[in-house]
């Protein structure tokens, strides 16, 4: 399995295509690189060198009891980013993955050419993926998951069982505490980020207000809505691929 090791932790990576560097990041809890691998990544790989990774504790990366704060996840990204190639990279992130990208761009401005932030929550602790855990009734919990995962969990399939096992490991570690402790981004910092940013939000997403705030504060941002909720990479895969293709090639 292609991976990068950081402090004894194996991080699963895949590289597709050749061209200028693009790195794609998924969201917490229910995410993995699969949503990009089977979504926008192959299309982008026609013209770009696309680096995908599983966050620690997710997908095929090693489990980790700690390190779900943006600084640590940004350091993980810093370790793997050279695999995307030399020069400044386009970072594409969904949900908490978008925040990792945003925090990374603020810390390593020279390393980033452009950002695409897909349904990023603000403040960081407001990740919709947590709704499943805060729900009081099982059916609410289920409907807080992305569509593609709901039947797996409900039917007790192998996919459902493996997802539940991943969630259990994450929740037993520091993930929830790290999320709660993560400070909000400061408007003053965001206002200084002189970098093209495409913001893509679901028009019915609970994070919509975060998109509007980012659009107001970031000096070079454009906000685009797609029909839907939070889980755009799986629920609007084709439309998102079209948009990314358009943005990265012509934007």
């Amino acid at each position: 399995m292609p991976h990068v090791e950081r402090s004894g932790l194996k991080l699963h990576v895949q590289v597709l295509g050749e061209g200028p560097p693009v790195a794609m990041l998924h969201g917490l809890l229910v995410g993995s690189m699969a949503s990009w691998y089977f979504g926008a990544a192959p299309r982008l790989a026609r013209r770009f060198r696309v680096l995908l990774s599983d966050l620690r504790g997710h997908g095929l990366s090693d489990p980790s009891p700690t390190g779900y704060d943006l600084a640590t996840l940004g350091a993980d990204l810093h370790e793997i980013l050279p695999l995307a190639g030399a020069g400044s990279a386009t970072l594409v992130g969904h949900s908490y993955g978008a925040l990792i990208a945003l925090r990374y761009a603020l810390a390593h401005r020279h390393r980033v050419a452009r950002l695409v932030l897909v349904d990023a929550p603000l403040p960081p602790s407001q990740v919709p993926e947590l709704d499943a855990f805060l729900a009081r009734r099982p059916e609410e919990m289920l409907s807080a998951l992305p569509d593609a995962l709901q039947s797996g969990v409900a039917d007790g399939s192998r996919q459902g069982r493996r997802l539940v096992a991943q969630l259990r490991r994450l929740v037993e570690g520091s993930l929830l505490a790290d999320l709660q402790a993560e400070p909000d981004f400061a408007d003053a910092d965001l206002a200084g980020l002189d970098l093209p940013v495409l913001l893509v939000y679901g028009d019915r997403s609970g994070c919509r207000a975060a998109g509007e705030r980012l659009a107001r504060v970031l000096p070079r941002a454009r906000l685009h809505f797609l029909p839907g909720g939070h889980f755009l990479p799986t629920e609007q895969a084709a439309a998102l691929a079209d948009l990314l293709d358009q943005e990265l090639v012509h934007g």
């Binding site: 691998y37 997908g59 996919q159 997802l163 799986t234």
Partner: protein, 98 residues
């Protein structure tokens, strides 16, 4: 089935058992009719691991990323082993002819 087809099927079946990594898969008959979703209950991330192994084994002759780009995830997951074998064989045959 042609020899090439049989070879590809054997290779793919071995890779699947490796990716799944659970003992039930070792005892399972994996053939052309085996469905990734229904029979193997493969997670999408395991399909990524499989695609990467296939790309490594068959190299530039098989454009997986391109093939995947034209399909939605639910189409991919509902494929059978036979359909993937046929795709690989088609690529191998046309690259030999070229």
């Amino acid at each position: 089935m042609s020899t090439q087809s049989e070879h590809v099927l054997t290779t793919l079946a071995a890779m699947l058992r490796e990716v799944i990594g659970e003992s039930w898969a070792d005892d399972l008959d994996i053939g052309r009719e085996t469905s990734f979703n229904r029979d193997l209950e493969l997670e999408s991330i395991e399909f990524v691991a499989l695609a990467e192994r296939l790309q490594t084994a068959f190299g530039a002759r098989v454009d997986f990323a391109g093939w995947l780009a034209d399909r939605e995830l639910d189409q991919i997951i509902s494929l059978t082993v036979g359909e993937v074998v046929d795709f690989i064989c088609t690529c191998l045959t046309s690259s030999e002819a070229a």
